[in-house]
């Protein structure tokens, strides 16, 4: 076997994810209904001209909890390297609990 083969395989198969930031709001007592939303953007050569793709995140969560409140929201901002320099991705995931009416946090 070519001695360079393992290095080449490692370089090609290596996928990396990075957690850029994580935050949470107060977690409610009522945790029966979990709601989740995700915003994602693929970036070629790290080119990205706006971050508007996360605009819909709150509305997505609100739609899953009509008439209630979404509390205990965990927000994760992740970076993904599919192939160094050329193929990257950014994902923002938000998950929380739907509290009907005016539930106590």
């Amino acid at each position: 076997m070519n001695p360079k083969m393992p290095l080449l395989l490692a370089a090609l198969l290596m996928g990396c994810t990075h957690l850029h930031s994580v935050s949470t709001t107060s977690v409610p007592v009522q945790r029966d209904k979990k709601v989740e939303a995700e915003a994602y953007r693929f970036m070629f050569m790290m080119m990205n001209f706006d971050n508007n793709y996360i605009d819909g995140l709150t509305r997505d969560l609100a739609k899953q909890c009509p008439g209630g409140q979404v509390q205990g929201i965990l927000t994760k901002h992740e970076g993904i390297i599919y192939f160094p320099l050329f193929a990257h991705g950014v994902r923002v995931r938000a998950s929380g609990y739907c509290v009907s009416g005016g539930g106590t946090p």
Partner: protein, 158 residues
């Protein structure tokens, strides 16, 4: 000896031109690129988010890529690639900017302080929900826009 020196010079010249092409590709790729450093979603009142009025607040300051600026200054002074002094100056400046950070250094650190006042002005009723706070940078080569952005929904009901 002479041939060896000439070959070495030629090699250096090629390396410099390769690095210039690579820098140009990176610069073109990075021109106007926006990077997100942090995003946080606040608590959501579905009624306010779905029926309320959306608002956006943006606060920013100019960031400076000191490394690029020093490289540019060295180019202008004709010191590019041969000055140890230019590198020493760059290293000293880097010492003052050590530590974790997002984006390029700015000249002031209180540019985001007025966010509360802006929030009050954007939503006079005071009923704000679904607040998303974003820290991002818009890269324009040597300078950048260091941005703090808030997106939220304001209840129409008083």
């Amino acid at each position: 000896m002479m041939t060896c020196r000439t070959a070495s010079k030629e090699r250096n010249r090629r390396m410099v031109s390769m690095s210039k092409i690579f820098s140009l590709v990176l610069l073109l790729g990075g021109t106007g690129c926006v990077a997100m450093h942090h995003a946080q979603v606040g608590e959501i009142d579905s009624k306010t988010v779905l029926e309320g009025e959306r608002f956006e607040i943006k606060l920013s300051a100019v960031g400076v890529d000191t490394e690029e600026v020093l490289d540019g200054a060295a180019d202008v002074a004709g010191l590019a690639g041969k000055s140890e002094e230019a590198q020493s100056i760059a290293d000293i400046i880097k010492l003052f900017q050590m530590g974790p950070r997002t984006g390029y250094p700015t000249f002031k650190d209180h540019y985001s302080d007025e966010v509360i006042d802006k929030l009050r002005a954007a939503c006079p009723s005071g009923s704000v929900s679904g607040l998303v706070s974003i820290r991002e940078s818009a890269d324009y080569g040597m300078v950048s826009g260091e941005i703090v952005k808030l997106i939220g929904y304001c209840s129409r009901e008083p």
